[in-house]
């Protein structure tokens, strides 16, 4: 990356914008993905491997990665699909930026995030530490925020990015809670150790539920699915990658990773089956009538990941094996379909089924490749998709009659909506203008289609990949053996039933339409998106109300700090025992000097409060400062006294200089300010609350100097630090890190002053 970053800079100024045809950055990302793919492949063939190095040892955190079956499967998906999508993206992004008349330099706002996303996915797949999993999990969410919001001038893209971020990140907090919960019981974050140690206790169950919530939000499962259709505001390569093989896959990846933990409790598994089944039906039904291509695919994704969650809920060797195989088949098909949608939109300028049709004759290669991808999703024979449904049916039958029915319904819906997608696009009367399609916008789809057909002919390698992955989820060896069987076994009957029913749905839109419309209306009315928006608006309102109250004028700003602080301190005092906390000492020796100084402070403070002239206020404040400096000197803190004197002098000078810049008149007494009297009445109570709290805390502090405070230790260690003056040694050595931060703030403050006074010019 660094090398390439140097590239544009070294070129002449006239060539600063690289030509539209050369997306070197994109190709670099693509090359990196290919390299990652080969590494995963070779690593997988070599039997994997593991590294584990300490990270934050005081927190028991380790950077532990392992290339096990699950990691190989998801790593290959993330890098393989990633490489194809990146190659596609080099062309797509160039056209996209051209259409929107944006500079090609904006690629820098795209490819680094894509590459980081791919890296985070591989990291997530290989991570063996729950906190590490959480970090990568959130890293993907952050990347997705910037990728979905790539068209930042569009409001829809910005809202969608924020929604995706909030839903997945807030839910991900549940994962962190689960990690801490498990750590508190078992004393480790390491996933293999946790899986070995976890029992079927209530803690395990709660942790399992929390993990599942985080994973389900990420995989866009009902009721946290609403962010995914919105996220289609992203450029197509983002959807093709994040919303088919990566981001949404991260959720089920986590489920697969911690599955033995979830399997400790039957209700959790049942919950997964229910959520999955509901997502299958809701996503599938809503996908039936979507008009916008990518929206249809988004609802399809919700439905397809519903299958997966359902399969993991069924669990066991069958369920986990089928799930692992399903991820593979679905990612291949869905990213191909997303890229098809992108290519169609790019060449025709249309993104709605109702305005497109008959593209088959004009783009035959794309039609065939997309047809294979659609057939894969619809589980037709000779594609890898057939086996995914075969395994699904087998697992569903094993689990029970209800899941078997759901499986057939799911396959029926899939057949219907994906059939409508393909037929609507490529058959029928020609609609829409077709521009020239670049080979790069078609080739990745063709490659994925070839993979799908290859999997349909020679399924063993894919099955082995899925078996290894399922072995990790099950905690023991799993063998899945999909194949063609030409007999009347239940799986085949179910498959044929699904095709027939799906064909019927496709042929009878009049029956389907009202149902879909009713479901969509109900979702719009009572759906979770409403709750999300209402929550966001309510938070916004609360924040705005507090802010308005605070910034009304100077008095409210001060009260907003002092009153809550006073109340909190008051609560703390009310909650702690008070015996001996407030002692009245004797006045002796130097105290007789301190008392008059304190009286002077009180008088000066009263002057500050009463006087109108600004200069007098500044000088009275200076009196307060100098008197307190004298008090410090008397109580034996010469260091503090010295600093107080010099700083007070400087402060007074600065005050006077600033006041000289202000207009002569006193505070303006116009109609708005006249409203004060009512607010003034609040000043008294606010001052009393704040003052009492400070008084009580100082009194309490002075009454009982802590016996074993850290200061005694500081005094003892000062000679060892080659010092004679404790304060200096504390500042420069014992708490040196604090000092470094504080002096940095000093420079930041000056930059702030310069920004306010002279538009950021320091001199």
């Amino acid at each position: 990356m660094v090398v390439v970053r140097g590239g544009p800079g070294t070129r002449g100024a006239g060539e600063r914008h690289p030509g539209p045809g050369t997306d070197r950055l994109g190709w670099l990302a693509c090359a990196a993905a290919v390299a990652g793919f080969l590494l995963c492949l070779l690593g997988g063939l070599a039997g994997g491997g593991a590294v584990s190095v300490p990270w934050a040892s005081s927190l028991d955190l380790r950077l532990s990665f392992a290339l096990d079956g699950l990691a190989v499967l998801y790593g290959l998906l993330a890098t393989g699909v990633g490489a194809l999508v990146f190659a596609y993206g080099t062309r797509y992004l160039t056209l996209h930026l051209e259409h929107q008349r944006r500079s090609a330099v904006e690629r820098w706002r795209f490819w680094p995030w894509m590459a980081l996303f791919a890296a985070a996915m591989v990291g997530l797949a290989t991570a063996q530490d729950l906190v590490l999993v959480f970090v990568f999990f959130d890293l993907t969410a952050v990347c997705s925020y910037f990728l979905i919001g790539f068209d930042r001038s569009e409001r829809a893209a910005r809202t969608a990015a924020l929604m995706a971020l909030l839903v997945t990140v807030v839910a991900a907090v549940a994962m962190l809670v689960a990690a801490v919960l498990l750590y508190s019981v078992h004393g480790t974050f390491s996933i293999p150790e946790l899986l070995a140690r976890a029992d079927s206790s209530a803690t395990t169950t709660s942790a399992a539920v929390l993990l599942a919530v985080a994973a389900l939000a990420k995989s866009a499962q009902v009721p946290l699915h609403f962010w995914l259709p919105r996220a289609m505001a992203a450029p197509t390569p983002v959807s093709a990658y994040l919303h088919s093989a990566a981001m949404v896959a991260a959720g089920v990846l986590v489920i697969g990773r911690v599955h033995p933990l979830l399997a400790r409790s039957e209700p959790v598994l049942t919950g997964l089956v229910v959520v999955g089944a509901v997502s299958v039906v809701v996503g599938g039904v809503l996908a039936l009538r979507q008009d916008v291509l990518k929206q249809l695919l988004a609802y399809s994704t919700i439905s397809q990941y519903g299958y997966l969650v359902m399969l993991y809920g069924m669990g066991g060797a069958e369920g986990n094996g089928a799930a692992a195989f399903y991820v593979l088949a679905h990612a291949v098909a869905k990213s191909a379909l997303f890229m098809t949608a992108g290519t169609v939109t790019m060449t025709t300028g249309e993104d709605r089924l109702s305005r497109l049709g008959g593209l088959g004759r004009r783009a035959p290669v794309l039609a065939v490749a997309a047809g294979v991808a659609a057939a894969t999703l619809a589980a037709l024979p000779l594609t890898i998709g057939f086996f995914k449904d075969e395994l699904l049916y087998a697992a569903a039958l094993r689990h029970g009659p209800v899941t078997a029915v759901v499986a057939v319904v799911a396959a029926t819906l899939t057949f219907a909506y994906i059939g409508r997608f393909w037929l609507g696009l490529f058959l029928g009367p020609p609609r829409g203008q077709v521009g020239p399609a670049s080979g790069l916008l078609v080739a990745p789809v063709v490659i994925l289609a070839a993979v799908a057909v290859l999997g349909g002919l020679v399924v063993e390698p894919f099955a082995r990949l899925a078996s290894d992955a399922a072995g990790v989820s099950t905690g023991g060896p799993v063998t899945i053996a999909p194949g063609y069987h030409f007999d009347l076994r239940p799986e085949n009957v179910m498959a044929v039933a699904a095709w027939v029913l799906g064909g019927l749905l496709l042929a009878l839109p009049r029956v389907v339409d009202p149902v879909v419309r009713a479901v969509a209306a109900a979702g719009e009315r009572w759906g979770p998106r409403r709750a999300y928006e209402a929550t966001l608006h309510a938070l916004d309102r609360v924040s705005a109300a507090v802010h308005d109250r605070e910034v009304k004028d100077l008095r409210t700003s001060i009260a907003a700090v002092l009153v809550p602080a006073g109340l909190v301190v008051g609560l703390a005092f009310a909650a702690t025992p008070t015996t001996g906390a407030y002692a009245v000492g004797v006045v002796a020796g130097a105290d007789w000097l301190i008392l008059p100084l304190l009286v002077l402070v009180v008088i000066a403070t009263l002057v500050v409060a009463r006087v109108r002239s600004r200069l007098t206020v500044a000088l009275a404040l200076a009196v307060v400062g100098f008197a307190l400096a004298a008090v410090y000197a008397l109580v034996g803190a010469p260091d503090v006294a010295l600093v107080a004197v010099v700083v007070e002098t400087m402060l007074t000078l600065v005050f006077v200089a600033a006041l000289a810049r202000m207009p002569d008149e006193g505070p303006v007494r116009d109609a708005v300010v006249r409203v004060r009297p009512r607010r003034r009445r609040r000043d008294g109570p606010a001052g009393v609350v704040a003052g009492l709290a400070v008084f009580a805390s100082v009194w309490g502090f002075l009454s009982q100097p802590a016996p074993d405070s850290v200061s005694a230790e500081h005094v003892r260690l000062t000679p060892a630090a080659h010092g004679g003056d404790v304060v200096t040694v504390i500042v420069a050595d014992f708490r040196g890190l604090d000092t470094l931060v504080e002096i940095t703030v000093l420079l930041v403050a000056v930059v702030g002053v310069a920004t306010l006074m002279r538009r950021g010019r320091l001199w």
């Binding site: 260091d639 010099v646 002098t649 600065v654 470094l740 420079l747 002053v753 001199w763």
Partner: protein, 154 residues
């Protein structure tokens, strides 16, 4: 600017004192730093003392006069940044050696070379950095207040 005495020329005593004060001010500052680790004082107080002398020059001669008499003042922002970097370096160099930050050299119990009261060890660099930072920051601040936006736009 209003004519109520703010811009009237300060009397000659102030001018003379302002002219004479920087020398002793620097001496006091140096003493504060040298003796800092053994007695009262440190780089911060030393910095404010010097900045006070500079501020007095501003008061006596006005911003224009002060900055034409002492052109070196324009380096104040660089001094501040340099001081901060020096202080940060003195705190974080141990990271490069695999030690926690703010691990000072020589360590506890080791021999420290002394020149009078001046101890030659890494906290001295921190003190010097803080001194430079404070002088730079406060001088910049006085400059900002003395010549706000209207005059800065030239």
């Amino acid at each position: 600017m209003s004519a109520d005495g703010v811009d009237a020329p300060p009397d000659s005593v102030v001018r003379v004192v302002a002219r004479l004060l920087p020398g002793p001010g620097l001496m006091v500052a140096a003493a504060l730093i040298v003796k800092g680790y053994a007695e009262v004082g440190d780089g911060f107080a030393a910095g404010v003392v010097v900045a006070l002398a500079i501020a007095l020059i501003y008061v006596a001669f006005g911003a224009e006069g002060a900055e034409s008499a002492l052109p070196a003042l324009r380096h104040a922002p660089k001094l501040a940044v340099g001081g901060l970097l020096l202080a940060l370096a003195s705190g974080f160099f141990p990271l490069a050696l695999g030690e926690p930050p703010v691990t000072h050299r020589p360590g506890p119990g080791e021999h420290v070379t002394k020149i009078g009261a001046l101890e030659l060890f890494t906290p001295l660099l921190l003190d010097l950095g803080v001194f430079m930072l404070v002088v730079g920051v406060l001088t910049t601040l006085v400059h900002q207040l003395a010549r706000p936006l209207g005059e800065g736009k030239r």
